[in-house]
Symmetry: C2
Subunit: 232 residues, 2 copies
DNA sequence: CCATTTTTCGAGCGATCGCTCGAAAAATGG
DNA sequence: CCATTTTTCGAGCGATCGCTCGAAAAATGG
């Protein structure tokens, strides 16, 4: 459903380069993308155990094999590197969550399921990026924190819009809580925030997606649309 | 339902002192508790905007009015201060979530509702402490991170136990997802992690608790126990 | 009131941080 | 092959960090 080719490190760094042509000094695209991949890979890896703040640029230099001075050809401050990564995550969310085909868009239940499925699979594919964004966004300058907040609100608004349409057309209960979209979001986030827990317990991504969809269905579908699974 | 007197800064710092008698140099209880309150209050406040790592001990000294040297009478390293705060949060969760009276304990549905209610209200009362623990725990030494993980797993096990009992006695669906406890936890956390969002939208704590309880009911109660709220 | 204990103070330490800059190395193109 | 451009390098900068320690101030108790 999601083409993995779209989210390779090279594809994402290529996109990062386009977005930051003005701050990246290196002129030749080939050179720039290759080094960006190395730098970003090392940065995500190092931030995984420690944190972005705790990672020094000397650590990053050693892990990436790019000299201290060399790093500054790709960003003009450590905060800029942070912003580049956060922006890439936010823009991928915006793009990927907007791509619902028309036939799915026409059915609120299917559309809600689609949003849940897409979000979980996107965060799975870009797991390191999302963990990074979630953990680091809080600790940094106002502008960067704002970016993270906006991205989260956008995700929530995708959900809220579909739910509102579903209530309107009678697929969802009329008494569906206005908080529902707010509650689905932390459930989506848990998949990557607590990824290691689910891995340890052997929870497959398909199981997680289906469990979440069913949980949400029970919370907001009208009884007519709800499959009755009474067992025993 | 929760006595606020139990969770005043003074009560919590008094408890912290008992737990760390060996590392705190100051001998007179009266002195120690008073200064601890000042120090911890300032530390939580400063970590709110920046982060614990980004907060320097000079910042803390200035904000609390305690000199650099004076601080070290209350902890022997910055990490110890972190550990003291995290421990206090974890122990309060452990205590407060274990106090269900027998009559509630005997009814799984009531007990689950009680756990949800208690957790949300505890995190509301100790909001700064919980936000701190959630944001900071990831960034720090292995031992401290482990403590946070253990605490979260404990909370989850409280939920899982009650759900298992509920399934056994037929109050909860037999096909209740084994993931349910894992999914409730991020919903509980969202209340304090995204507290400012809910405040901005004017969501009252009672509404949040009830919405959450209802959402969970729909997800796991057998139809017999589920109040039918079909409207229009 | 004074001897003793307890608490508080803050200048100064070594280490590490983000970042710079002039020079070296590599790539390019005629 | 060589002149020019582009990329990479790493020692060194000022600033700030966690932490120490000897001395001053405050509290205690007979």
């Amino acid at each position: 459903m999601l083409d993995p080719e779209r989210f390779t490190m090279e594809a994402l760094c290529s996109s990062m380069l386009d977005r930051h042509r003005d701050t990246i000094v290196v002129k030749k695209r080939e050179f720039a993308v290759r080094k960006l991949c190395v730098i970003v890979t090392a940065a995500l890896q190092l931030s995984r155990n420690k944190s972005f703040q705790a990672m020094s640029l000397r650590d990053l230099s050693a892990a990436s094999g790019v000299s201290m001075g060399g790093l500054y050809a790709y960003f003009d401050s450590k905060t800029t590197l942070l912003r580049m990564i956060l922006t890439e995550v936010a823009e991928q969310v915006r793009t990927v969550m907007s791509e619902a085909p028309d036939d799915i868009r026409s059915d609120p239940v299917a559309h809600l399921d689609w949003l849940i499925d897409r979000h979980v699979r996107l965060t799975e594919t870009m797991q390191l990026w999302f963990s990074f964004a979630f953990v680091e966004a809080k600790n940094f300058p106002v502008a960067e924190r704002r970016m993270a907040t906006d991205s989260e609100e956008l995700t929530e608004s995708f959900l809220a819009d579909v739910i509102a349409r579903g209530v309107e057309c009678g697929a969802f209960r009329a008494d569906t809580s206005p908080l529902l979209a707010s509650l689905i979001k932390p459930l989506l986030q848990d998949w990557y925030v607590k990824r290691s827990k689910y891995r340890r317990r052997g929870v497959e991504i398909n199981v997680y997606v289906e469990t979440l969809q069913q949980f949400v269905h029970r919370g907001c579908l009208t009884p007519d649309n709800l499959p009755s699974r009474r067992s025993r």
